[in-house]
């Protein structure tokens, strides 16, 4: 692994570099910056909802803008660029190639993210990350809405470029001695998620253009006043964004496949079932999009088809969980910080999946749809699974990237606080949803159960907030002043790396 910050370099040298670890570092820092920015917005939302009535945020429009930018930021500017960071560092090394297949394209894909982030943050749109028409066409204030549309457009192009690069790097640039069946599971996760991106994203790209021309008044695709149909947008949106859920979660699972065997000091239980489950997930991920739309007036048959499609994804996810548990079974486990995050992430992945089964079952969905249950459900994925896997991987990469060790105690405190906070926030939100509280509301009536549960959620969110401050302090302090890491075995787990081809990258 390349020791990134060992010798100080001027920042412009990293910024204008096309080398995969430099671009990876840019992705890493940018995505973590957006994690803290998006997280700060979440704390603002939670502070406001601590009590009914307007306290911290005094008008509904500001609140609506905040939750819109919170969601957009964390999905598109944290999770996706973070996966690209890990992919940039690891994929070329794992397939034993000198760089990504197209280094300049790689740098271009990264440099699309800052302007897109600027458009989204300077605009601060209010129409939710789903940009529902006809609200987004006839009612959402511009130019914020238009800036959001352009921002997402740029991010979509960036994702597609990144995906092409990963697919070509893995399939065409892997070492000739290496068969596809020997590519490590982390690289497999990037292959699967990149293929999903290539199939899914163009649909939303088209929908965004249609939304834009609808807003300009020159077309009426989704505007009922001009003969259009908002449900068409819902289909186009979810055809992209249900598979996109797998784009987000598959690399995080790949990261766990890297961490769990290492700290269990055992090879992965079944490489083949890991690959099989990735491929299966990326196919069945396309059969479930309209489970987001049961309440739009779909027929019984349509609902049944999409319920079956949704439930079909469960065995593949369950195979990953089995693989992790079987790998840890009888292992000499070392609970260093990355391992704690990975194991916590698996536990929360299981809980999130169990809640998802309830959502998919048609009659239950009418209780949970668009309530805080759904907020709790998908946050258990994006926070509990994806962010946990990703943060675990930040700790895991840290000695390789900086050449220094992070502070282990602070890392463990960060994990324990975040885990408690996550359980408090998102499990409670499930229950709050069952009590009927709708999502995306600025204020709520003083129903005693709602008040108590909102307060528990806010306290949990503040615990996560404090833990993230500890994380930030640890990263900043340790990257300059931390103990020097042993590059051969920074975590002291001994043994060798468990990807099949551990030979040195020929170009370094």
């Amino acid at each position: 692994m390349v020791l990134e910050l060992q010798k100080p370099r001027p920042i412009w040298q990293i910024m204008f570099s096309t080398h995969h670890t430099d671009v990876g570092l840019l992705y890493l820092i940018t995505s973590l910056a957006f994690l803290f920015m998006g997280g700060a917005l979440a704390l603002a939302i939670r502070a406001e909802l601590f009590l009914p009535g307007a306290q911290i945020i005094t008008d509904a429009m500001t609140f609506n803008r905040i939750f819109t930018v919170h969601g957009t930021t964390l999905i598109f500017l944290f999770i996706i660029p973070f996966a690209s960071a890990v992919g940039n560092y690891y994929v070329p090394i794992m397939v034993r190639y000198k760089d990504m297949a197209y280094p300049k394209l790689n740098a271009i894909a990264f440099w699309m993210i800052p302007p897109a982030g600027a458009l989204i943050w300077l605009g601060f749109a209010d129409f939710t990350w789903y940009a529902t028409p006809p609200y987004s066409i006839i009612s959402a204030p511009g130019p914020a809405a238009d800036m959001w549309i352009f921002g997402l457009k740029i991010l979509g192009i960036s994702s597609v470029l990144g995906a092409i690069n990963f697919v070509v790097t893995i399939l065409k640039c892997k070492h000739p001695d290496m068969s596809i069946g020997q590519v490590p599971l982390l690289a497999w996760s990037f292959l699967s998620s990149s293929l999903i991106i290539l199939v899914a994203i163009p649909t939303f790209a088209a929908a965004l253009l249609m939304l834009l021309t609808d807003r300009l008044g020159v077309s009426g695709f989704f505007n009922p006043a001009m003969g259009g149909d908002p449900i068409a947008y819902a289909h186009l949106f979810w055809f992209t964004f249900h598979p996109e859920v797998y784009v987000l979660v598959i690399p995080a699972i790949g990261m766990m496949y890297e961490i769990i065997p290492r700290f269990s000091r055992k090879p992965i239980y079944s490489y083949n079932s890991g690959v099989f489950a990735f491929v299966l997930l990326s196919i069945v991920g396309f059969s479930s999009w309209a489970h987001h739309m049961y309440a739009t007036g779909m027929s019984f048959t349509e609902k049944t088809v999409f319920m079956v499609g949704t439930l079909a994804a469960v065995p593949a996810s369950a195979m990953h969980v089995f693989n992790f548990v079987a790998t840890m079974w009888n292992g000499r486990i070392k609970f260093a910080t990355p391992m704690m995050w990975a194991v916590g992430g698996i536990a929360l992945f299981f809980s999130a999946g169990a809640g998802g089964v309830a959502n998919a079952a048609m009659p239950l969905d009418f209780t949970t749809h668009d309530t805080y249950w759904v907020v709790g459900h998908f946050h258990l994925f994006v926070m509990g699974t994806i962010a946990f896997g990703s943060i675990g991987f930040v700790y895991y990469m840290f000695p390789y990237v900086t050449g220094r060790m992070y502070n282990e105690t602070m890392g463990k405190v960060h994990f324990v606080m975040s885990f408690i906070g996550t359980v408090l926030v998102f499990f409670t939100q499930h229950v709050l949803g069952l009590y009927g509280m709708p999502r995306r509301i600025f204020d709520y009536p003083p129903i005693p159960e709602w008040i108590v549960m909102n307060q528990i959620v806010t306290v949990g969110a503040m615990i996560i907030g404090v833990s993230m401050a500890i994380f930030l302090a640890n990263m900043i302090y340790s990257s300059g002043k931390g103990k020097l890491a042993n590059p051969e075995d920074p975590f002291g787990v001994g043994g060798k790396y468990y990807y099949p081809f551990e030979a040195k990258n020929p170009s370094h």
Binding site: G297, L311, A326, P363, T367, D370, Y435
Partner: protein, 143 residues
């Protein structure tokens, strides 16, 4: 990759698939029953608009923000919207259906007890979405 046998994983996957089949079958059966609208259901037209619900009964009576129904009768809501998407929701009776401009969606319910319940909008519809609320009054039959 190793030479060990994989039978525990196959058993586990089999159990998960069986569970999913069971959940799917139960849901299918329940939804089929829930969607069967009684023939004598009275029709109430529900209109969503930013940020208010209005109701029109079969006899032509109109109500704004409040809905009065009688216990023991079945009602079928015909839901539409005149501006943006909304979602008509009486959480206590698991009544939920989107109000979408250009479409009429239906859902039915039969109140079983006298009482008051909240009506709310569950789909984001803009500035006052949080307060697009109403009250359902379930009353004794008048005659």
């Amino acid at each position: 990759m190793g030479g060990h046998s994989n039978w525990p994983e196959w058993i586990y996957v089999g159990v998960v698939i069986a569970l999913m089949v069971w959940v799917g079958a139960e849901a299918w059966e329940a939804e089929r029953l829930v969607e069967h609208v009684p023939a004598d259901a009275e029709i109430i037209k529900v209109t969503g608009q930013q940020w208010l619900w209005t109701f029109e009964h079969e006899d032509g009576t109109k109500e704004r923000g409040e809905l009065h129904v009688e216990v023991g009768k079945a009602y079928k809501f015909e839901i539409e919207s005149i501006d943006v998407n909304h979602s008509f929701n009486i959480h206590d009776y698991v009544v939920l259906m989107d109000a979408i401009p250009g479409r009429v969606n239906t859902v039915w319910f039969a109140p079983t007890e006298v009482g008051q319940h909240d009506i709310q909008c569950r789909e984001y519809c803009g500035l006052i979405h949080y307060n697009m609320r109403g009250t359902l009054y379930v009353e004794e039959p008048s005659s």
